[in-house]
């Protein structure tokens, strides 16, 4: 079973999965490896990272030296295909016009979805992160705890390969011995930041990223991941041997032709396809989940995004993993006499509890990093170090004016220059030009750095999505309309970020180069961090949640959600690893329930 066209779909599948990113990829992997017959529908085109990734292309080969444009918003060589903040023919709307009330929705249309370009930062939620309301009375607790997901975090980390270290810090879980790959050595700017931040009490430790810092142990890992299943072990072992370790060049955001980092297209799908149990149907934009006469979900209807032809596929179980908002949209569009408000929406909670990550950045210039002896700082194509949230004790003692926390991502070093590499340089050079400017460029290159906070938002009633009553996409599918408003919790957190980042830059002997900006304006707009989760929140009560603790919808027992939709809170930790762990757990449950004949 391969990547197929509509005429090649089977009459029925055990499981139909909508979406091919982290959640869809993990679900397809787990289910197909266990023997279920699976179809994945992807709204975008087929994509082959091995053939299509621009691995060593320098910026001078690209239009505009690879700069960001409206059509390639993260730069020409970013892996994203047919996506961005806006997409022709696929509008979304915002209920309010003010800038601070906007939600910007990043989408893509390609096999593998947003896993192709993501930052590969793979952090576990900690025990506190599942029970936030219990700790501070705000937001919503998850019906599951860290112990429920811990074994799945282990499995996902083993499967995809994550580098990092175990530091034993509060609410920053260790992985079991031998699970993580060794972290790469820190760059000089990262070491300087670590050294100086320590004086401020801010820990800087190895980042956790889904990049193979060495080859995976294909002889040992498959048996740990698929105990008692020699066939799955053999297939996974082969797939692991097909992945090369990082060769310490090219940014991960381009994707990875040697499969050294995780994207579903290089890690989940090759072994899942090798089982013969998986079909992938690209260019299939799902309209709605269809029901049989008894009201049971029996498949999905879709439109061929290229030809406009309508299609339908049937499955015993339906898994939505289209991304939090797109999944909510499909449910809201799945209206019937039985479910006039949309499927799985008896509670009225579909689209509610929408969250993103709190983001703000501060840049600086550090004289100590000027004129450094030239050396290669490309590294693992992303961050080697980060700072986990560190003020739990102070928060407990009531010393902070905001709840929850943020982690710090930062970028230093001498990367390959881009078109904007020296924008703003004249502020440091007194307006030099001529030979002096060349000297200045040599001196300042590599001395700029930037810190970004990634913090936890508290869900609030002002943040949700719904169907726009008027606007439709080019296929006639109702568009999503966002409602957004940050609360004082997030704004105060940003003020704290700004102070911390300024303190670190000054402790490094540097100066802040960012314009002083009030926190309410410095906070990134909703959606900008592309960590949107919630909208199909899990719970223990069908009246106040969309799914149970297995991400199984209350209203249709053979319908499951496998993206960030069921998240009850959005910890500062980047959500992708948790999406995968949750999807694996959900898939295990689906297999059990199918075996028992319950679904």
């Amino acid at each position: 079973m391969p990547v197929i066209t509509a005429s090649k779909t089977q009459p029925a599948y055990d499981v139909v999965i909508v979406g091919s990113g982290a959640g869809g990829g993990q679900s397809a992997y787990t289910l197909a490896m266990a023997g279920a017959k699976v179809l994945v529908l992807e709204a975008g085109r087929h994509y082959d990272p091995v053939r299509e990734t621009p691995m060593f292309q320098e910026n001078f080969r690209a239009p505009l030296r690879g700069a960001d444009t409206a059509q390639k918003p993260f730069g020409f060589y970013d892996a994203t295909i047919a996506g961005g903040w806006t997409m022709p023919g696929e509008p979304y709307t915002n209920a309010r016009g003010e800038s601070e009330r906007q939600f910007d929705w990043w989408r893509t249309r390609m096999l593998g979805g947003r896993t192709n370009h993501w930052g590969r930062i793979a952090l576990r939620n900690g025990p506190y992160d599942f029970k936030p309301r219990n700790r501070d009375g705000l937001g919503v607790d998850w019906p599951i705890g860290y112990a429920d997901l811990a074994p799945y975090y282990d499995r996902v980390e083993r499967l995809i390969g994550v580098y990092g270290s175990n530091e034993g810090l509060e609410n920053t879980p260790n992985s079991p011995q031998g699970v993580l790959l060794p972290p790469p050595k820190a760059r000089v700017g990262e070491l300087l930041a670590q050294n100086r931040a320590k004086q401020l009490g801010i820990p800087i430790i190895p980042a956790h990223r889904a990049v193979l810092s060495r080859a995976q142990d294909a002889a040992t890992l498959p048996a740990l991941i698929h105990p008692g299943d020699p066939r799955a072990q053999r297939i996974l072992g082969e797939a692991m041997r097909g992945r090369a370790p990082c060769f310490w060049a090219t940014p991960c955001g381009r994707g990875c032709a040697i499969k050294a980092n995780y994207q579903s297209t290089t890690v989940h799908f090759p072994p899942a396809l090798a089982t013969g149990n998986l079909d992938i149907l690209p260019d299939a934009m799902v309209r709605e989940v269809t029901l049989d006469k008894s009201g049971r979900a029996d498949g999905v209807s879709y439109v061929n995004a290229v030809t406009g032809q309508e299609g339908r596929v049937r499955g015993r179980v339906i898994v939505l993993a289209a991304s939090a908002v797109a999944t909510a949209r499909i449910l809201l569009c799945s209206q019937s006499a039985r479910f006039p408000q949309g499927l799985a929406n008896r509670s009225g909670k579909v689209g509610k509890g929408l969250m993103d990550t709190v983001g703000a950045s501060v840049g600086g210039q550090v004289p100590l990093l000027e004129n450094l002896p030239p050396h290669n700082e490309d590294g693992a194509g992303g961050d080697h170090m980060y700072s986990p949230w560190w003020l739990y004790r102070e928060q407990r003692a009531g010393q902070l004016d905001f709840p929850r926390g943020y982690h710090i991502e930062f970028r230093t070093g001498r990367p390959m220059p881009g078109a904007d590499a020296f924008n703003g340089l004249s502020r440091h050079t007194g307006g030099s030009y001529g030979r002096q400017l060349k000297e200045d460029a040599r001196r300042f290159y590599g001395s700029f750095l930037g810190f970004s906070g990634r913090g936890e938002m508290i869900p609030n009633d002002d943040c949700f999505c719904e169907l726009d009553p008027v606007v439709k996409d080019k296929w006639g599918i109702p568009a999503i309309r966002f409602h957004w408003k940050w609360s004082e919790h997030e704004i105060r957190q940003v003020a704290h970020m700004q102070k911390s980042f300024g303190d670190i830059i000054e402790a490094m002997g540097g100066t802040v180069t960012s314009k002083p900006t009030p926190p309410a304006l410095a906070i990134e707009r909703g959606g900008r961090i592309i960590h949107e989760v919630g909208g199909t929140v899990m719970g223990t009560d069908p009246a106040t949640s969309v799914t149970n603790s297995w991400c199984q919808t209350w209203d249709a027992k053979n319908l499951f959600i496998a993206d960030g939709g069921p998240f009850c809170s959005n910890a500062d930790k980047n959500p992708t690893l948790t999406i995968m762990a949750l999807a694996w757990r959900t898939s295990d449950h689906i297999l059990e329930e199918m075996q028992k004949g319950n679904i």
Partner: protein
């Protein structure tokens, strides 16, 4: 943070479509819609592109002459690397200001600075004519710096030269970006990377020593 800091813009799709259309009309006058649509959201990432491949360039012969001269005043050849014009920077700047993107709200995106750059190039030629009775490219170096010195540092520029200083600063940024993204520019900066390696060794001792960590 890698991706997000770069993005400072976010435009309403409807707004940019309108502006695109308007610019097309402004450039081509009434008649068929322009054939170019930008680089697209699913371009071939593996082929090499050159200025003019995807959309028409804008410089008049006189503007190209001035831009070439100004590029080399800003980044002249020295012992380590060639001049900006020798590695194609004027064509890059032309490509940049001609890009069919409407950058409402962005101070630095492709196409946003078209008026600033084209107006500035006309201004600098006018200034050369006014003071030295020839165009900027025809001046000797000391005459060129006599024009550039009062506008090279925006905060220090006289009020009547603020616009010229703004132009000069933006032109300088584009020249820097265009130059240091070339092979020669990267070599000059001693960017060492973009090569496959079997190990990542981290910073050398002399780098650690310089920052006081060894």
């Amino acid at each position: 943070m890698e991706r997000r800091d770069a993005i400072k813009w976010m435009l309403a799709a409807a707004g940019s479509a309108f502006l695109l259309e308007r610019r097309g009309l402004a450039r081509g006058g009434p008649g068929p819609a322009p054939a170019w649509v930008g680089e697209g959201s699913d371009p071939n990432l593996l082929k090499d592109y050159h200025p003019g491949d995807l959309w028409p360039l804008s410089f008049s012969p006189a503007q190209r002459r001035s831009a070439t001269a100004l590029c080399d005043v800003i980044l002249p050849a020295d012992a380590q690397s060639p001049s900006a014009s020798a590695v194609g920077v004027p064509a890059f700047i032309d490509e940049w200001i001609s890009a069919p993107y409407a950058w409402i709200g962005s101070e630095s995106g492709p196409g946003s600075d078209r008026e600033v750059i084209l107006g500035g190039l006309d201004w600098i030629d006018g200034e050369a004519q006014r003071r030295f009775a020839t165009d900027f490219a025809g001046l000797i170096h000391s005459q060129q710096t006599a024009i550039c010195d009062p506008i090279c540092h925006e905060p220090a520029a006289e009020p009547e030269r603020k616009d010229a200083a703004k132009f000069f600063n933006r032109f300088r940024e584009l020249t820097l970006g265009g130059f240091y993204t070339t092979k020669e520019g990267m070599l000059d900066l001693k960017y060492i990377g973009n090569v496959a390696q079997s190990t990542f060794t981290g910073p050398p001792p002399e780098a650690l020593r310089q920052v006081g960590l060894l």
